[in-house]
């Protein structure tokens, strides 16, 4: 097991109360696997990723759980050790490529910086200029790999001279530079045109296959997740509410929220209404109901929903946080 997250809790202590941005999140990720983390905006997907890197913005804090990376708990590492792992073992790419590159540094230099700080070519070349040359060559290879045309010239360009798609490729090149074992992708295609989206996703797929790099893809687009991921976790209000193989979840969604999510994808089927929205809105994380977070919007809510809901373990590695499936559950899989 490459990564195992158990009961991760990231809370924000605000003057108005505690926001449980990430609440009892547990999942596993195998070598070379692509897992989707799906949910509406504000459901805690991005915070989950940032928690994995221990980069939760203040006043947020990871208050509980464990993050086992190759068996070692990242939450127990010193901040120095953690700094060394970032970029090298776990790399992250962000939603908006336009703002994730530093506007005042050359793109090539930003990629090279990653190689440099993690000490690539440090041993082989003790001399500064030869090391620099080796690093530059590697950067140009990386830029080629992610599909940036004429990388020799583009190395010296600034981010604003790149298009959005090219910027995202550069960000991916930074993430790939140190050959991390896990790539955390936070809505990497949301800010891009649909055609570019497909290009970036296929690039990530290619990297996943050629390098065997595991990917956690955060997206609000169930369609993207269905196409790209082997497994999916659906998040709602800070919690994972359903988890399983992509095909199982798409064919037979269990949690009423997942069902609603699938129904709300517009379809071109003549007899059905084109859009079936989930009623109500996402609750404020400050005013969550007792028990099941989805209860106020759920058509099948009942008295038992007022109790805290555990993540139930079902057949075939599926898990669901819903009282409806208690009878089928093997046990509680927290």
């Amino acid at each position: 097991m490459l990564l195992e997250v158990n009961n991760l809790q990231t809370y924000f202590e605000l003057s108005r109360g505690t926001v449980k941005a990430v609440d009892q999140v547990s999942f596993k990720l195998d070598q070379g696997e692509i897992m989707g983390l799906v949910g509406e905006s504000g459901c805690g997907k991005s915070m989950t990723l940032l928690s994995l890197l221990r980069l939760v913005p203040t006043p947020g804090k990871i208050v509980g759980g464990e993050i086992l990376f190759e068996g070692q708990d990242l939450l127990k590492k010193s901040s120095r050790e953690m700094t060394k792992m970032r970029g090298k073992d776990l790399a992250m790419i962000f939603q908006d490529p336009m703002t994730s590159l530093n506007p005042v540094f050359k793109v090539g230099e930003q990629i090279r910086e990653s190689l440099h700080i993690h000490g690539y070519f440090q041993e082989s070349y003790s001399g500064g200029s030869r090391r620099l040359k080796a690093e530059k060559e590697r950067v140009i290879e990386l830029m080629e790999e992610v599909g940036i045309p004429s990388p020799m010239d583009r190395y010296y360009e600034y981010p604003h001279q790149f298009s959005g798609g090219m910027q995202q490729r550069a960000v991916i090149a930074i993430a790939l530079s140190c050959e991390p074992k896990i790539l955390l992708a936070d809505e990497p295609t949301t800010a891009l045109d649909v055609t570019i989206q497909a290009q970036i996703l296929s690039l990530m797929e290619k990297i996943n296959q050629s390098r065997g790099m595991a990917i956690i893809l955060v997206t609000h687009d169930l369609g993207v997740a269905a196409e790209f991921c082997q497994r999916i976790c659906v998040m709602y209000a800070g919690q994972i509410i359903e988890q399983g193989q992509t095909d199982d979840i798409i064919e037979e969604p269990l949690h009423p929220y997942t069902q609603g999510l699938l129904n709300s994808i517009p379809r071109l089927v003549p007899d059905k209404p084109r859009l079936q929205p989930i009623r109500g809105t996402v609750p404020s994380l400050l005013e969550l109901p007792e028990g099941c977070n989805f209860m106020p919007r759920c058509d099948r809510a009942m008295e038992e929903c007022r109790l805290p809901q555990p993540l139930l373990e079902l057949q075939n590695g599926r898990r669901v946080r819903c009282v409806l499936y208690q009878a089928q559950a093997k046990g509680e899989g927290e």
């Binding site: 890197l53 700094t83 792992m85 590159l101 005042v104 700080i117």
Partner: protein, 336 residues
């Protein structure tokens, strides 16, 4: 920035400086008070004839337009005229006083930036902490406080009560310094005259702090707010996610961006430094341009005031040009 653009900017500056010359020429002459009257009042018994001769000599008997013509004609030839009261060419007087002013302004700005930039950065990184609150209160004080009051306060504490620092002048009388550049700190280093260096620095401390304090206050606030904005950006999170140490994230990735708005303010503040130096030079009896212009305003020494103001305008324009050049270096999105 390309050389051609720089030259273009310098050429644009020429009409600006001439324009300022015309404005100060008119302001001086429209201000009540006549230089001859003031001078004669001080001299005592003078005949009508002598007064007329002086008026003729300085073209004060001509109309305003004609006088302006003389002034501009001389100015474009590089001649700022002769001081009424001192009887020497204005340029000579300026040349003599300029190093003192530049030295003071340099150390004032040096003090300001040395203090303000780290304070701005630390306050932003530790937003709402005690250190942030204390420094921002200090900055608020620095903006509100009248500069002469700070100067006098420092004199009372460090000269009168503690006796650590001298109250006036650039160097002690008992120190002999061979002048090379006119910058005393530099001269004493060049000539290896260590007692002079110590004396010059001692004399510089209080005037520099007084001059630099308001600038430090503003720069610290601007640095803090632009740093706060930069720190919210994705590329800062990205830099951390790459595995950079927090120090590198702040100093390399964030500060470089936060300096962009700060440099603009620094450029404008250099102008304020010039305004401030009139007060500081007066408080600390500093023999620079500021004191020269203040004393020449009192006696309506038109050519001298005009000359100094033109030098001020020139410095201001030059400072802004330097800022613009720095800007293109700091911000790759701007190419001039």
């Amino acid at each position: 920035m390309q050389l051609a653009r720089i030259i273009e900017r310098i050429l644009i500056a020429i009409p600006v400086i001439i324009g300022i010359g015309i404005i100060i020429f008119l302001i001086m002459r429209l201000t009540p008070g006549d230089p001859i009257d003031i001078m004669m009042g001080q001299a005592g018994h003078v005949s009508e004839r002598e007064v007329e001769l002086l008026r003729e000599q300085w073209h004060l008997d001509e109309s305003l337009g004609v006088q302006l013509g003389y002034f501009l004609k001389d100015l474009v030839q590089g001649d700022m005229g002769t001081s009424f009261t001192k009887g020497r060419p204005v340029w000579d007087l300026i040349k003599q006083a300029l190093p003192a002013t530049v030295e003071l302004a340099f150390f004032g700005a040096f003090f300001a930036l040395l203090v303000a930039i780290p304070i701005g950065v630390i306050s932003a990184v530790k937003q709402n902490s005690l250190i942030d609150k204390i420094s921002m209160a200090g900055a608020f004080f620095g903006i509100c406080m009248p500069i002469f009051w700070l100067g006098i306060l420092l004199i009372i504490i460090f000269s009168i009560n503690l006796g650590w620092l001298p109250t006036y002048g650039r160097i002690s009388y008992d120190v002999n310094l061979q002048q090379v550049t006119g910058f005393y700190v530099l001269d004493s280093i060049i000539t290896g005259n260590w007692p002079a260096l110590v004396s010059a620095i001692k004399h510089l401390i209080m005037p520099s702090i007084t001059l630099g304090f308001p600038m430090a206050a503003i720069v610290a606030r601007v640095m803090r707010s632009s740093m706060l904005e930069v720190l919210r950006n994705d590329y800062v999170v990205m830099a951390r996610a790459k595995g950079l140490r927090e120090y590198t994230v702040i100093v390399k990735h964030a500060m470089r961006n936060a300096m962009i708005p700060t440099v603009t303010v620094i450029g404008l503040e250099v102008g304020m430094l010039l305004g401030g130096n009139m007060i500081v030079e007066t408080v600390f009896s500093w023999p620079g341009l500021g004191r020269l212009v203040v004393s020449s305003i009192f006696v309506r020494d038109y050519p001298l005031v005009q000359g100094v103001v033109i030098i001020y305008a020139f410095t201001f324009v030059a400072a802004n040009l330097i800022v613009d050049i720095l800007y293109t270096y700091l911000n790759p999105k701007i190419s001039m």
